[in-house]
């Protein structure tokens, strides 16, 4: 069988130098778990859409990744998430953007694709639609993690420092670290 599944958990300045053994182990374990969950779906005859959704749930539910439970914070201190899915057989697609209460945004994206005539829904509307589809909604505090909140504070502090000392330049240092890109 050609059944195959691939995943990513974010890109950036991820090097051995800025990784502890414990952190690396945690990431490797969770990536392996996600792969296994998706592969099990495929092995049992599940569709690629089912496998993608189940795999992404594992990563959305982990605070290690910038999605779902580990989402980064906006300037206003909110967790605002986006997701999309596409079916290669039918070329149907669905997406949600700027949602704050949908536990697994990937499932909402799939619902937009399969249960509506639209491709993308945003914000409150997307959340209201998700509710009609029985998709689990949570209090926004579910997404709060101290690590991500501290990242926001550090970036806000950094900006203040730059403004105080050199308003004309901005450092690109670590800008592409997953979860450390800033707007």
């Amino acid at each position: 069988s050609k059944i195959t599944l691939a995943i990513h958990g974010g890109a950036g300045t991820i090097t051995r130098e800025n990784m502890t053994p414990e952190k690396e182990k945690a990431y490797r374990e969770k990536l392996n778990e996600a792969l296994q969950v998706g592969y099990d779906v495929l092995k049992k005859g599940g569709t690629s859409m089912d496998a993608v959704e189940a795999t992404i749930h594992v990563m959305e539910n982990s605070p290690l990744f910038n999605a779902g439970k580990g989402a980064v914070f906006t300037n206003e201190g909110k967790n605002e998430m986006d997701a999309a899915m596409m079916d290669g057989e039918t070329l149907q697609a669905g997406a949600v953007a700027s949602v704050t209460t949908i536990k697994n945004p990937i499932s909402a994206a799939r619902a937009v694709m399969e249960k509506s005539p639209h491709v993308m829904m945003i914000g409150d509307g997307a959340e209201a639609f998700a509710k009609t589809q029985g998709i689990e909604l949570v209090d926004p505090s579910y997404f709060h993690t101290e690590t991500r909140y501290n990242q926001l504070q550090q970036i806000i502090d950094k900006e203040k420092t730059q403004l105080d000392h050199d308003g004309g330049s901005s450092s690109n240092e670590n800008i592409f670290t997953e979860g450390n890109k800033f707007g």
Binding site: L5, A6, G88, K181
Partner: protein, 133 residues
């Protein structure tokens, strides 16, 4: 940003991407993840793609669809198409990040031009996970 591409026993491809976006973002900024063709794309005739990186560049370069288009119109392999877009086009235009791409034959490409990318694939029951370059 997390993503997944899969090929099932019926020969169908699918792609999905989910993200919290950019730390400290303002004004309702939206990145590439929910933009079909930029951060997510799937077509059984070419490939399934999910992207992660600096979204604005992935949107402007229509990265996910561009990989599929190179396969469709120039008959490139998934590996060559993904490399062309991520390691050449995107680098030339200053965009940092990577993609995972999978074709209908189960060939996987995972190029990235950043220092690292959390990534993995599973084929014949054997998982492979990598982080660094």
């Amino acid at each position: 940003t997390v993503g997944c591409v899969a090929l099932d026993a019926y020969g169908n491809l699918a792609a999905g991407t989910s993200t919290g976006g950019m730390t400290n973002k303002r004004f309702g900024r939206v990145g590439d993840a929910p933009i079909i063709g930029a951060g997510t794309y799937a077509d059984n005739n070419t490939c399934a793609v999910s992207a992660t990186g600096h979204g604005e560049y992935f949107i402007r370069n229509v990265v996910a669809y561009d990989i599929a288009a190179l396969m469709k119109y120039k008959n490139l392999s998934v590996k060559k198409a993904a490399e062309e877009v991520v390691m050449k086009k995107l680098v030339d235009r200053g965009g940092e990040g990577g993609v995972i791409a999978l074709d209908k034959n189960g060939n996987v490409a995972m190029p990235f031009n950043s220092a690292g990318m959390y990534r993995g694939y599973i084929k014949n029951g054997k998982p492979v996970v990598a982080i660094y370059r």
